[in-house]
């Protein structure tokens, strides 16, 4: 069923009896040409673009829980393409362009809202760095603006401009950045993939990989063996667990990142704001809650929950930036598991096993990458060669010294 304004009117007049479930719940078949492991944003986007853009069929997505139940439903919904390095910026700008056309493309309301994102500046050195970053963004076809202190003040007069440690001196702004209704991204891709014949198989955990003569022939699952021509793994957070079935050790540690929502407040933050020096970023949801977060907890974790010291740290960052929120109450906090890679950048690549492909290492920046990640992974699966914007996301970049280290931290995943 195609959604449209007319459809809404017709259904309203006929008692809303025509709405149907938006995807099937098929039993797994014995063999598929393409098996995507992971029914989150990236896996569903991969299946969608494989079917739609690359004309492939006989595709299945295997999800151990329910569709969109992992990090695509646990993030803080920000989209942007404000990266510095050549290996990253073209990819994230490709992703932002896909976001801009996504709802028309998959005929689903994902509430893409380009409300703008600012990164606050506190020192001359930081202004120099952000100027350079903004120029790199513009050279790669993205938009960037340097705001001075008074321009920031006009937007958010209630910020603490005269903080003794981090006075606000300006900001780098990307107006095309913003937020998206994250669950709807998973649902839209799932619906679009299902409409094109992709089998979305839930409650189906991969428990092993069958590899014969160096080639993958299928996966063992809790719902039996499923044969596959090619297998693409997109399970960020659990990448090491799943790829261990193929005997691989990854340049990845799993870490927990917490996020927070306050009680609903009247609208007063109309964009996204990052206070990197204070380890804090924030936006305001359409329901009025402040959606914010900070750093990862910093130790290996698969727990999907963090500890109190980071909650305190994030709250302090928020108070330093916006004393006005001091009496707002925290509604809830939660945690998601991040694939923290050794240089802070992702991997979309072949593996030493023929027919087995990997997509992961998204650190805490996977949500904004969802459309391009799906597209580029589908490109790799369909054509056996990387998409032009994802050529740098290789496994062997660590061996060859071609790291994409935006933060310059080296092989310390908890500092990226």
């Amino acid at each position: 069923m195609r959604y449209s304004g007319l459809r809404v009117v017709v259904e309203a007049l006929t008692g809303h009896r025509g709405w149907k479930p938006v995807w099937r719940d098929p039993a797994p078949q014995s063999h598929y040409d393409f098996v995507i492991v992971g029914g989150g944003g990236h896996g569903l986007a991969t299946a969608y673009y494989l079917a739609k853009e690359f004309g492939k069929s006989r595709i299945a997505v295997l999800e151990k829980g329910y569709l969109g139940g992992g990090n695509v439903g646990r993030n803080t919904t920000i989209i942007r393409s404000n990266y510095l390095l050549d290996g990253n910026e073209p990819f994230y700008e490709f992703s932002l362009k896909l976001w801009e056309g996504l709802e028309q493309d998959f005929n689903y309301n994902a509430m893409v809202s380009q409300r703008g994102i600012i990164n606050l500046i506190h020192t001359d050195a930081q202004r120099d760095a952000f100027t350079r970053r903004g120029n790199a963004m513009i050279m790669n076809g993205a938009d960037a603006e340097l705001l001075d202190r008074e321009q920031v003040r006009a937007m958010y007069p209630w910020l603490n401009f005269d903080n003794a440690r981090f006075p606000i001196k300006g900001a780098l702004m990307q107006r095309r950045g913003g937020t998206v209704r994250h669950d709807a991204v998973a649902w839209g891709y799932a619906r679009g993939a299902d409409m094109r014949g992709v089998d979305l198989i839930q409650n189906c955990e991969v428990t092993g990989m069958r590899i014969e003569n160096g080639r993958i022939v299928g996966v063992e699952t809790t719902r039996g063996f499923i044969g596959a021509g090619k297998v693409g793994v997109a399970v960020a957070g659990s990448s090491s667990k799943v790829m261990a079935h193929a005997g691989m050790r990854l340049p990845i540690e799993s870490h927990v990142l917490q996020a927070f929502v306050s009680e609903g407040l009247k609208p007063f933050i109309d964009g996204v704001m990052t206070f990197g020096a204070g380890h804090f970023y924030v936006s305001q949801s359409d329901k009025g809650g402040l959606v914010f977060g900070g750093d990862i907890d910093g130790y290996n974790s698969y727990a999907q929950r963090g500890n109190l010291p980071v909650i305190e740290d994030v709250a302090e960052g928020g108070m330093a930036l916006m004393p006005a929120i001091g009496r707002a109450r925290l509604l809830r906090t939660w945690g998601g598991i991040m694939d923290m890679s050794m240089d802070g950048s992702p991997i979309i690549d072949r593996t030493p096993v023929d027919g087995l492909y990997f997509n992961g290492g998204w650190c805490y920046g996977g949500f904004k990458a969802t459309p391009a990640s799906g597209w580029c992974f589908a490109h790799l699966l369909a054509r056996d060669e990387p998409h032009v914007t994802a050529r740098a996301y290789r496994f062997d970049r660590f061996l060859k010294g071609l790291m994409i280290d935006e933060k310059g931290q080296g092989a310390t995943p908890n500092l990226h």
């Binding site: 659990s238 090491s240 667990k241 050790r249 990854l250 340049p251 990845i252 540690e253 799993s254 910093g298 130790y299 290996n300 974790s301 698969y302 727990a303 500890n307 010291p309 050794m342 660590f398 061996l399 092989a411 310390t412 995943p413 908890n414």
Partner: protein
């Protein structure tokens, strides 16, 4: 998380800096190990869901390195050793 320091007793994990998998103690010999072995040491990790032996540095305490055995699924800490003792038990001089 509370880390039971073998010398100082129970300490808040906030006093510590986390480094990562305790296998980082076993650095290959730079003159004899090949680039592949060094690459594996530096970049690849087991990253288990479950018990994980890891290095914590007591920066705001006695500046000792500890090997903490912790469950990455529950955050439960099951064993804490001085990294020095672990190294000596493995036959190293320090």
């Amino acid at each position: 998380m509370i880390i039971h320091h073998p010398i100082l007793g129970p300490r808040d994990s906030q006093e510590f800096v986390y480094l990562g998998d305790a296998s980082l103690m076993n650095r290959p010999d730079g003159l004899t190990a090949g680039i592949e072995a060094f690459h594996d040491y530096l970049y690849n990790r087991d990253n288990p869901a479950g018990e994980h032996r890891e290095l914590w540095y007591h920066e705001q305490g006695d500046r000792s390195w500890l090997v903490v055995t912790r469950n990455t699924v529950t955050h439960e800490i099951v064993r804490v050793e001085l990294a020095r003792d672990v190294a000596k038990a493995a036959g190293r001089t320090k």
